[in-house]
Amino acid sequence: MPAATLTAGAAWQGRSLRPLLLALATLLMLTLIGLPMLAILLYALFPQINEWSLAAPFSALLPNLMDAQLIGATLNSLSLSLGVTLLSCILALPLAFRRAQMSTRQGRLWDALLLVPFLIPPYIGALSWMQLLQVNGFSEQLLGFNLAGFLYSFPGIVTVMALHLFPMIYFATSKAFAVIGNRYGDVARVFGGSPLQIFARIHLPMVLPTLLSSGLIVFVLTIEEFGTPEILGSRFGFRVIVTAIHEKFSDWPIDLPGASVLSLILILLAFFAYRLHQRLARRFSSAVENQSLAAPARPVSTAQRLIDLLLFGSAVTLAVLLPLLTIGVSALLDTLSGGLSLDNMSLRHLGGLFVRDGAAWAAISTSLTLALLAALGSVAIAILVAFTVVRLRTRGTALLDFLSILPNAIPGMAVAVGLILTWNQPFWPATPYNTPAILLVAYICLTLPYPIRMLTAALKQLPRSLDDAAYISGAGELRVILRILTPLLAPVALAAGFIVFAIASRELVSSLMLAPPGVETVATYVFHQFDQGSINAGMAMSLVTILVSGSIIVLGQRLPGSRQPEGKTQ
């Protein structure tokens, strides 16, 4: 008996929510991530698209691409990113190698200290180096010299950024050294290798993929960084892609097509670096998976111990102690001109943050509110997307999959440009643009990859029979999500929420670009205080930011569901 064919989905009777959930997830991701990216692309190709005209296609592309400023900014971005990546590798490699030979207890202490740079937002780090090294800065007041010439130069920016980012490579590489263990080195020693030969011929080639893949993350983070190049680079006319985009928006007339061409270049560079990173990371994990960890720690000589102390001590001093001390001390100084003296110490600026109705307090509460909402929104969307991608696996999920990894590689500046191009259009009946809601949209868009990655991985671990048992018991899709999966994913969702909160509460670039007039976030407050010369008030806010977002991150990592997420921290 030839029977009619049942087409999947279409034939469902009754209340199946599957098509609806897929549609909702796709719509959300398209609106949040697809539209801004599309807007950038369209503006770059059709400069008059905002008038619904496809006139003069590519007319902006070529002139912009030939523009000397753009070429200069792109070359600067590339050389800065390469320089920072290279210096970070050089700083991280010896530390990582020595870390793998250390006792667990000692190693953990250094690890904890080297996590601190992640807690300092890079723009605050750059500001603290300025306080320390500029003309009449702390170094001059205490020791009689300044390094302003060095700080405001290409090597200066590279150093400041590398000191902030090298722990990224340090952690990845020291883990790789530990996985490889001492066995291969021991084998080489038996065959007569000297320590240097063993390092160069055995260990280095084996960690090279990890070194490169974490180096690429540093590359991506550098190329999308705004604060440091803006703060330090602007003093000696050093322009990178991100700061050039910022200029396109701040100088009249606003050049939207130009900004979108720059954004497109930025996205492409970051995207390719990120894909390369993923490929390398995957290859290394498959290559060493079946290696055993066994190899007893070798006793360390006193001389070696001294060298380790010197090595790690100076790294921690430069990357952690000096910036933190500078921030702390600056926050406690009454006036900048008063200099470093006990008479000039006061709690005025710290106290000023918590004055009700004050600008600082408004910025803090705006940031905390937005960060909380972003955490809730981002995690809720991530649960929906994870469920759709992992459990439904119908044809539409490939697009979702792509959209969910896209923001990994999209710099904050590009997100901001995309959101402006999308939502600053007259044809929308309602738009979040020019309201604090646009900040929320930006934060969710920027942070989505973290909860999506964490929750997708966690959901894949949950056996499918848990869902199936619920369906057969009479539960619909919504009940399965709310009563079965959400409680089971709660620890991971909470950890992801903490990460989103920490990032959103201190995000600078999109806040600066998108905050409506009169609305300040913590980051824009700090930035503007410096612009206006109220450095000590800015530093007081920085100190509080670091403490708050730091304790949030630490708290988040102690949650049972958290695993160190691979990827970017801002």
Binding site: P2, L6, Q13, P463, D468, A469, G474, G476, I484, L488
Partner: protein, 332 residues
């Protein structure tokens, strides 16, 4: 009366046909087992009955309730089929207590609270887990987890309970015990069941009728003893391990035209030497004392033959063997 009717169910994954035009009936209160090697389509058929997979075409109904009818483009989602399902990996929700796991289908059916309580206690009693109601599943042993899973499947008095290899995660002793228990529960509650397994012993333990499946088709259907005594061909005999299969030419008195002969182990006897009966000579390869008899493997013209003996034999020893002609099956 047939409780479950399956008509002309077909399913393809890409180019491969998983199920080809399957039609089956399951009588009310009986246990039907879908038995077959992996890839034969048994699990897909079970998941289609549950609504977890969509067939390409066909018709399924439980009593009056139609689950699937491709002629009318009708497909009921799993949550509306009112079934029970026992998973190989138990499928217990780790964040809910034993009692809450069992109560879940009742809550979904909007059963009044007081009744839920009574019913949960009832099925917990039936699976002998009354003391464990408040525990989380992780605190239970494998056998206990599977009994909770069975209790959950029974709770809402479904028209049909589906078992997906319910015993294969358990160790051998427990398997037998739980198998007996499932049969007894099914009888006690008059429950219609469909069971899937690749293990012939599990099928023997748990079936009123067995459907032997091969390549997406029903190969043979019958009561367990029918299948094991009279497998339809050499493949079925081999899969069911129904006995020794020897080429026809080494068996004296084989029907002309037969190529292979099935010789049940119990049909092989040691010739006592006094009588001159047509038989074969074999050389003993091994002799092991298992359960309450000797399991002997002997070689006949290059083929291994298994038989039971009441006395030990020496490896290398030559023995005469006789076959009970009535028990032999001739395959052409």
């Amino acid at each position: 009366m047939s409780q479950l009717s399956i008509r002309n169910i077909s399913k393809r994954f890409g180019a491969t046909a998983i199920l080809r035009d399957i039609s089956l009936d399951v009588e009310a209160g009986s246990i039907l087992t879908l038995l077959g090697p992996s890839g034969c389509g048994k699990t897909t058929l079970l998941r289609i009955i549950a609504g977890l997979e969509t067939p390409d075409s066909g018709y399924i109904a439980a009593g009056e309730r139609v689950f699937v009818d491709s002629d009318r483009s009708l497909l009921l989602p799993p949550q509306q089929r009112r079934l029970g399902f026992v998973f190989q990996d138990y499928g217990l929700w780790p964040h809910l207590s034993v009692a809450d796991n069992i109560a879940f289908p009742l809550k979904m059916a909007k059963t009044p609270k007081a009744q839920i309580k009574i019913r949960v206690a009832e099925v917990l009693e039936a699976v002998r887990l009354a003391d464990h109601a408040a525990k989380l599943p992780e605190k239970l042993s494998g056998g206990q987890k599977q009994r909770v899973s069975i209790a959950r499947a029974l709770a809402a008095k479904p028209a049909l309970i589906l078992f997906d290899e319910p015993l294969s995660n358990l160790d051998a002793n427990l398997r037998e015990e739980l198998g007996q228990e499932i049969r007894q529960l099914a009888r006690q509650f008059g429950q219609t069941c469909v069971n899937v397994t690749h293990d012939r012993r599990e099928a023997q333990l748990l079936s009123d009728r067995i459907v032997l499946m091969k390549d997406g088709l029903c190969h043979q259907i019958g009561r367990p003893e029918e299948l094991f005594r009279a497998p339809v061909d050499a493949w079925a005999a081999r899969f069911l391990d129904a006995g020794n299969i020897l080429p026809a030419q080494v068996v004296p008195g084989a029907t002309p035209g037969a190529t292979q002969i099935l010789i049940p182990r119990s049909a092989v006897q040691l010739a006592d030497g006094s009588k001159e009966v047509a038989g074969v000579t074999a050389q003993v390869l091994s002799s092991l004392y298992i359960d309450d008899r000797y399991e002997v493997v002997a070689e006949v013209a290059g083929h291994a033959l298994k038989l039971f003996a009441d006395r030990p034999l020496q490896p290398g020893q030559h023995v005469g063997l006789q076959f009970a002609d009535a028990a032999l099956l001739h395959f052409s």
